[in-house]
């Protein structure tokens, strides 16, 4: 397979043809923060946290394939601040009450908040009115916490490829929703997968909760991305 050479913050990196910038960076021990991206599903570029500068232009690392000789800027002060701003926007855009959330400690959004030492969002809270949908047999959707990453839309489908989750409306009114018939037919396995794929506590599997004690959770002792940076 052909190899490409490219540069991230002056570090020479190798990539396989067709790899995206974030994928290739990971293989080269460089962490570019991601949130909506998830292994095995088509990248969507919804969160924009992986934004890097490619030949002077801002591009989402998760959707941009590496090209030979590409010059990528990643850890500049400007980009890091804009990424932090996106994390802060997500915290004010929804209602994120971490102390009440079952995903706390295992949440990718929160973990990014930790990594970027978000003391308080720079933006005022928007206090949106959002519903909690508990009408489904296997899962609960708490839209207060949904960051509209579309991981569930992309990653959870029926055997014949139909979407179980989708988005309604547009703009700031965009909300995630589940197909009532298809969601009712979900298996336990699928429900678990949906909960796992959701980066935050918006999709929760019914009847289990707070299984992992504090101190043992995914992001309790080491920052997100530290497994990549070695």
């Amino acid at each position: 397979m052909s190899e490409l050479t490219f540069f991230i913050d002056n570090k020479e990196c190798k990539a396989k043809k067709g790899q995206t910038i974030t994928e290739a960076a990971r293989d080269n021990g460089v962490y570019i923060p991601t949130l909506c991206d998830y292994p095995g599903i088509r990248p969507a570029g919804t969160c924009r946290i992986c934004t890097v500068k490619v030949n002077g232009r801002n591009m989402a690392g998760c959707t941009t394939p590496v090209e030979e000789g590409m010059i990528v800027e990643n850890k500049t002060a400007e980009l890091e601040d804009m990424r932090k701003a996106i994390i802060e926007m997500l915290f004010v855009e929804g209602n994120h009450m971490c102390p009440t959330c079952e995903k706390s400690g295992n949440c990718d959004l929160q973990a990014l908040g930790y990594r970027y030492t978000m003391m308080v969002p720079r933006f005022p809270y928007l206090w949106p009115s959002r519903e909690i949908d508990a009408s489904m047999p296997k899962i609960v959707i708490d839209k207060n916490r949904c960051i509209q990453c579309l991981r569930c839309v992309r990653g959870i489908t029926t055997a014949d490829g139909k979407h179980i989750f989708g988005t309604l409306h547009r703009g700031d009114k965009t909300r995630i929703s589940a197909d009532p018939e298809l969601v009712a037919a979900m298996t336990d396995e699928q429900a678990q997968k949906a909960m796992d794929i959701c980066p935050v506590g918006a999709i929760l599997k019914r009847e289990v909760g707070f299984k992992v004690p504090m101190g043992k959770r995914k992001y309790d002792s080491a920052p997100i991305g530290s497994d990549i940076e070695k």
Binding site: P99, Q110, Y114, T117, M119, W127, S221
Partner: protein
């Protein structure tokens, strides 16, 4: 240099942040050497009688008394610190922010199953009772806040590090394990 003077208060909070402050264990003795406590539940001083260097506040604002207290702190403290999630973003009390005040009050005082059916059904309205705000406000939506310490409650070690920084001017050190939102 004389010891910095510290005031603390709990507004719409649960006192958990204050408990966490006590959780610094024996370092509390060091703290007494480092700072002087003024108005605070720690020493039960009720009124400001002098200007303080640092005011530390847990809890957000859910009623008019919280607001008055907070403004009083702003007037009497050079630096204000929002301590904990409720102070920073309203916290658990703010879960009512999406429910109209009318519904909240009616549920609490008129429709709740714990109400004695023999009692007259009224929503308390004595002038001495603080007035409820339309929603719970984070502190910085009402006055200027200089620093924020997240956590529910903020870990004792984080509070300790922050106090050290404020009292001695040393650079703030935040170990990853103690910087949490829960």
């Amino acid at each position: 240099m004389s010891k910095p003077i510290v005031a603390t208060a709990s507004l719409a909070g649960c006192f958990g942040c204050h408990m966490s402050l006590l959780d610094i264990d024996d370092r509390i003795l060091q703290l007494i050497d480092l700072v002087e406590f003024h108005k605070s539940p720690v020493d039960d001083i009720k009124k400001f009688t002098k200007m303080c260097d640092v005011g530390i506040i847990e809890g957000g604002c859910c009623n008019s008394e919280n607001v008055e207290n907070l403004r009083d702190f702003r007037k009497n403290c050079k630096i204000l610190v929002a301590l904990g999630e409720c102070a920073i973003m309203g916290g658990l009390p703010a879960m009512r922010n999406d429910i109209p005040v009318k519904e909240c009050l009616e549920e609490a005082y008129l429709g709740s199953p714990t109400i004695d059916p023999k009692d007259p059904k009224i929503i308390p309205n004595d002038d001495d009772i603080p007035m409820i705000l339309d929603r719970v406000y984070p502190l910085h939506e009402i006055v200027k806040i200089d620093y924020f310490l997240p956590g529910c409650p903020p870990r004792a070690d984080l509070i300790w590090e922050a106090l050290l920084t404020l009292a001695t001017g040393k650079e703030l050190n935040i170990p990853y394990e103690v910087f949490k939102f829960d």
